[in-house]
């Protein structure tokens, strides 16, 4: 699970072009959006795209993706349970 979290962080940093940021700068339990890391709705769309591309994950609706994208912890949990590749 820790390895998956690191992998996800690296993918997010690269896809969102988070300049000067390392995986260590992202707290696993901190919110990814708004007051946490400060990502916005466009970033959410980018992350959903990475998850589809790299893990074959398709969300049924926005509510489901909202819950999964809360933090790195919730994201890793969702990915390990639902990944198809």
């Amino acid at each position: 699970m820790e390895e998956l979290k690191l992998q996800l962080k690296k993918q997010i940093i690269s896809a969102l072009n988070l300049l000067d940021m390392t995986p260590d700068d992202i707290d696993n339990s901190a919110p990814l959006f708004n007051e946490g890391l400060g990502l916005d709705s466009i970033d959410a769309l980018e992350i959903v795209m990475i998850l589809d591309k790299n893990y074959g994950i398709k969300f049924a609706d926005k509510e489901q993706s909202k819950l999964a994208l809360k933090s790195i912890d919730s994201l890793a949990e969702y990915v390990s349970a639902h990944r198809t590749k």
Partner: protein
């Protein structure tokens, strides 16, 4: 000064020409359905297509040409008068339909059609149209979905400053796979016919079309006994300066645009009978637009409110002029005296115009002749953007856009302005780095995995709206496209706006990015493109 509307021409999903469009608007039937002409794999996204097959010219020019021809004929102007006309044309996709057809071949090294690469420049569309009808000149406005209304604003300022007695204004936009996939990447394309303002609305349908209007100084129109459809009574643009795609929660840009358009007209909220809303049917737009309307008109407003996008689809850069004509027809049909027509674009580029049945004096003859024009400020290595923008902001900007921010900051500082009244930018290829990246994606992987970040940053006005956010400038914001002399074109627009009393000062920029892949393709066609980062300040003395 009073401005009459003395000619119209239109194509949309509702039909080809005034008669079909008018009849189908009044019938209220939606013409949004599965794509037939656009060669997309995404049949699940219904669109408002114009039922005209493709020819060998860019579809944008094809649609624009039909509407423009009708408008010129309808105006009753003589051949000589037509040839003196200046075309102010709104478009964002330019010849993208042609480019996306050939790009995959170019990527594979087949350059047999490389000469048409010039068509991607939005200005090429306008120049082709002007040439087709032997018009005297053309100007291209490219502010995404508010382009055609901003073209109307530009045209009005040409008349208000006495530069011309009449001008032809409007916009054209053909459907492309590029922007259909782009809008879909933002998660805002509906799989059903869109439902503006409905609580269960779930996004837009894209549409296509073109519409043009003749704006004419009213005494001139009366002298030649022209048919008058109505009068342009007010106009304004305001940048939300909030987010690249989302509207601000309070609808600041939309509120300012409607409020300032009313101010110019001298009318009050009680005079307005009807609003043709932007009403795209996304949750965000409709909520923010309604909030802005409530702020301006009060919670219990009695104004008829309508979005016609469920009939035509969202015709993006052409929507402003198409819906201005729809508004004129609604006014005639229902006996309204005054109406507002809104069009909002990416980057929170929000425009609104006031249309009237009777003449309204909208601007005095301006006496501002003396203008101060500063030197040009360019980027140099002594400038840093790190103090101006956070890494979180910078991550979505290309290095050249960061340099433009630095050069503009220097210009503002040296010229003693903290917040300009307006930002006017002119570009040649727009934000080409992001555009090329998406074209590569389309060529290599087909219509999937479009990056929403790249799409929103690929629109021409992404740069000017980024400047607005950085400098918190909610004033007028506009982007032009010109290949000859971008800084002169931007300067011209700023001077027109100052002389017609709309603004007192402006940050004026010329911006051109370079991209290695793009440059290598341009080289094959013998076209030169250079990086351009220039900022200057123009103000009334």
């Amino acid at each position: 000064m009073q401005i009459a509307i003395t000619g119209i021409g239109i194509v949309s999903a509702l039909g080809i020409g005034v008669a079909d469009n008018r009849r189908n608007l009044l019938s209220g039937k939606s013409f949004v359905k599965a794509p037939k002409i656009l060669t997309t794999i995404h049949k699940e996204w219904p669109v408002g297509e114009v039922s005209i097959s493709n020819t060998d010219v860019s579809r944008n020019v094809l649609l624009g040409g039909i509407a423009l021809k009708e408008c010129l004929a309808d105006s009753g102007l003589s051949e000589e008068q037509i040839q003196a006309l200046h075309l102010v044309n709104g478009t964002t996709v330019g010849g993208m339909d042609v480019i996306e057809k050939h790009y995959a071949n170019w990527s594979k090294g087949d350059f047999s059609n490389i000469a048409c690469i010039e068509q991607l420049e939005a200005d090429w569309t306008s120049k082709s149209l002007a040439k087709q009808f032997s018009l005297s000149d053309s100007t291209t406005i490219s502010t995404a979905c508010s382009s055609a209304l901003n073209a109307i604003i530009y045209g009005a300022s040409l008349i208000c400053t006495g530069i011309t007695k009449r001008v032809v204004v409007g916009g054209t936009e053909a459907l492309t796979k590029f922007h259909l996939n782009g809008f879909a990447s933002l998660g805002i394309v509906s799989e059903k016919v869109c439902r503006p303002f409905a609580p269960d609305r779930d996004g837009i349908n894209l549409g296509e079309g073109a519409a043009y209007l003749i704006l004419e100084e009213a005494t001139e129109a009366a002298t030649r006994d022209a048919h008058i459809y109505g009068y342009l009574a007010g106009y304004a643009n305001s940048c939300d300066a909030y987010h690249q795609t989302a509207s601000s929660p309070d609808g600041d840009g939309a509120y300012n645009a409607m409020h300032n358009a009313l101010s110019i007209s001298g009318l009050t909220i009680n005079d307005i009978n009807y609003i043709n809303a932007h009403g795209t049917a996304t949750q965000n737009n409709d909520e923010c637009e309604l909030r802005a309307i409530e702020r301006l008109f009060g919670k219990d407003y009695k104004v008829a409110l309508e979005s016609t996008k469920n009939l035509t689809g969202h015709t993006t850069s052409a929507s402003g002029s198409i819906e201005a004509i729809f508004t004129l027809w609604r006014m005639e049909e229902r006996g309204y005296n005054y109406a507002l027509c809104n069009a909002f674009g990416f980057g929170g580029n929000d425009s609104s115009i006031v249309l009237a049945k009777q003449p309204v004096s909208l601007c005095g003859t301006s006496s501002i002749e003396n203008l101060y024009v500063s030197q040009e400020y360019e980027f140099d290595d002594s400038l840093s953007v790190n103090d101006l923008i956070s890494p979180m902001q910078a991550r979505r900007m290309t290095p050249s856009l960061c340099k433009l921010i630095a050069a503009s900051h220097k210009a503002l500082k040296q010229e003693g302005l903290t917040k300009p009244d307006a930002i006017v930018l002119c570009t040649e290829w727009g934000c080409i780095v992001q555009t090329v990246s998406l074209l590569e994606q389309l060529a290599e992987h087909g219509e999937k995995d479009f990056s929403p970040t790249q799409f929103m940053n690929s629109t021409h006005n992404a740069a000017a709206c980024t400047l607005a956010r950085v400098f918190n400038c909610k004033g007028l914001n506009t982007t032009l496209v010109d290949s000859n002399d971008p800084i002169a074109k931007a300067e011209m627009q700023a001077k027109l706006l100052i002389r017609s009393g709309v603004i007192k000062n402006a940050l004026v920029c010329a911006f051109n990015e370079t991209d290695d892949k793009w440059q290598s393709l341009l080289n094959k066609a013998g076209i030169k493109s250079t990086q351009l980062i220039k900022s200057k300040i123009i103000k009334a003395k």
